[in-house]
C-alpha cells in the first residue's frame, strides 16, 4: 500500500511527532523527585532494619510515611522502566527479543508499583 501514499503521508506519524523529548524529560523529572525521596528512604530502611514487626507496621501506618513511600514507589518504578528501556534499546538488536524485553520490563514495573502501593494502602488503612 505504501506506493499509494505520498512521501509526506508516509513520514507523518513516524519520527518525533512532537513527543521526541518526552522520555528524556520524564526521566529527569522522576530523577529530580527521587533525590529527596531516595535519601528519605535510606533513613526509613535504616529504621526498619532495627524494628520488629509491630514497630515497622506502626512506622508505615503514619499517613506521612505512607504517602511519601507511595510517591517513592511510583517515581522509582517509573524511572526504572525508562532507564531499562534505554538499556534494552542499546543492547538488544533482535527485534522480537527487544519487544519481549520491553514488554516484560513495562509489565514488571507497572505490576511492581501497583503491588507496592496496594501493600502500603493496606498497612496505612489497617
Amino acid at each position: 500500500m505504501s506506493d499509494l501514499q505520498t512521501p509526506l503521508k508516509r513520514v507523518r506519524g513516524l519520527g518525533s511527532a512532537k513527543h521526541g523529548t518526552h522520555h528524556f524529560i520524564v526521566q529527569r523529572i522522576t530523577a529530580l523527585a527521587l533525590i529527596p525521596l531516595s535519601i528519605w528512604i535510606v533513613f526509613v530502611a535504616l529504621a526498619l532494619m532495627h524494628a520488629d514487626y509491630a514497630h515497622a507496621r506502626a512506622m508505615l501506618h503514619h499517613p506521612f510515611a505512607a504517602v511519601w513511600l507511595a510517591a517513592f514507589v511510583v517515581a522509582a518504578f517509573w524511572h526504572a522502566q525508562l532507564g531499562l528501556q534505554v538499556v534494552i534499546e542499546d543492547y538488544v538488536h533482535t527485534r522480537w527479543l527487544e519487544l519481549a524485553a520491553q514488554l516484560a520490563v513495562k509489565f514488571f514495573c507497572f505490576v511492581g508499583a501497583l503491588t507496592c502501593v496496594f501493600a502500603i494502602v493496606r498497612i496505612a488503612l489497617a
Binding site: R28, A31, L32, L34, I35, S38, I39, V42, L46, L48, M49, H50, Y53, A56, R57, L60, V73, A76, F77, A80, G83, L84, V87, H93, T94, R95, C109, G112, T115, C116, F118, A119, I120, R122, I123, A126
Partner: protein
C-alpha cells in the same frame, strides 16, 4: 546479533580506558542493579502487609550473609546512582562539561558515594551494638 552487516563505529575496545567512561558504565550497571533490587522492596512491603509470619522471612533474609551482601551492594548502588545522577542533571543544565571539571565531579562521585555507604553501614553497626 545485529540484523545487518553494516560497518560499526569504533567501540569500547579501541579507546583508552578512562574514568569518565567507567563512571558512565557503572551508572548503567547500578541502575540495573537497583531495578533488580525492587524485587526486595515488593517482597518486603507485601510481607509487612500480610502479617508477622511473612515479614519474619524478609527479616531472616536481610540478616543472612547473602542478604547482607546484597543490601550492602544495593546501598552503594543507590548512593552512587544518586550522586552520579545529580552529576548528569548538572550536565543536562549545561554545567560541568569541561574536562578538568568532569574529572573533578567524577572523582567526587566516587568518594562521596563510598563515604555515604560507609556512613549508612556505620549507623547499622552502631545501632546493632546498642541493642
Amino acid at each position: 546479533m545485529p540484523q545487518s552487516a553494516r560497518p560499526l563505529s569504533p567501540h569500547l575496545g579501541i579507546y583508552k580506558w578512562q574514568l569518565t567512561m567507567t563512571l558512565s558504565i557503572v551508572h548503567r550497571a547500578t541502575g540495573i542493579a537497583l531495578a533488580a533490587g525492587t524485587v526486595l522492596l515488593i517482597w518486603a512491603l507485601l510481607s509487612l502487609s500480610n502479617g508477622p509470619e511473612a515479614y519474619a522471612h524478609v527479616q531472616a533474609f536481610c540478616a543472612s550473609a547473602p542478604g547482607m551482601v546484597l543490601l550492602f551492594g544495593w546501598s552503594w548502588s543507590l548512593c552512587y546512582h544518586l550522586c552520579n545522577g545529580i552529576r548528569h542533571l548538572a550536565w543536562d543544565s549545561g554545567w560541568g562539561f569541561e574536562i578538568p571539571r568532569a574529572y573533578l565531579t567524577g572523582w567526587s562521585v566516587v568518594v562521596v558515594s563510598i563515604v555515604m555507604t560507609l556512613a549508612i553501614w556505620g549507623c547499622v553497626v552502631a545501632r546493632a551494638g546498642m541493642s
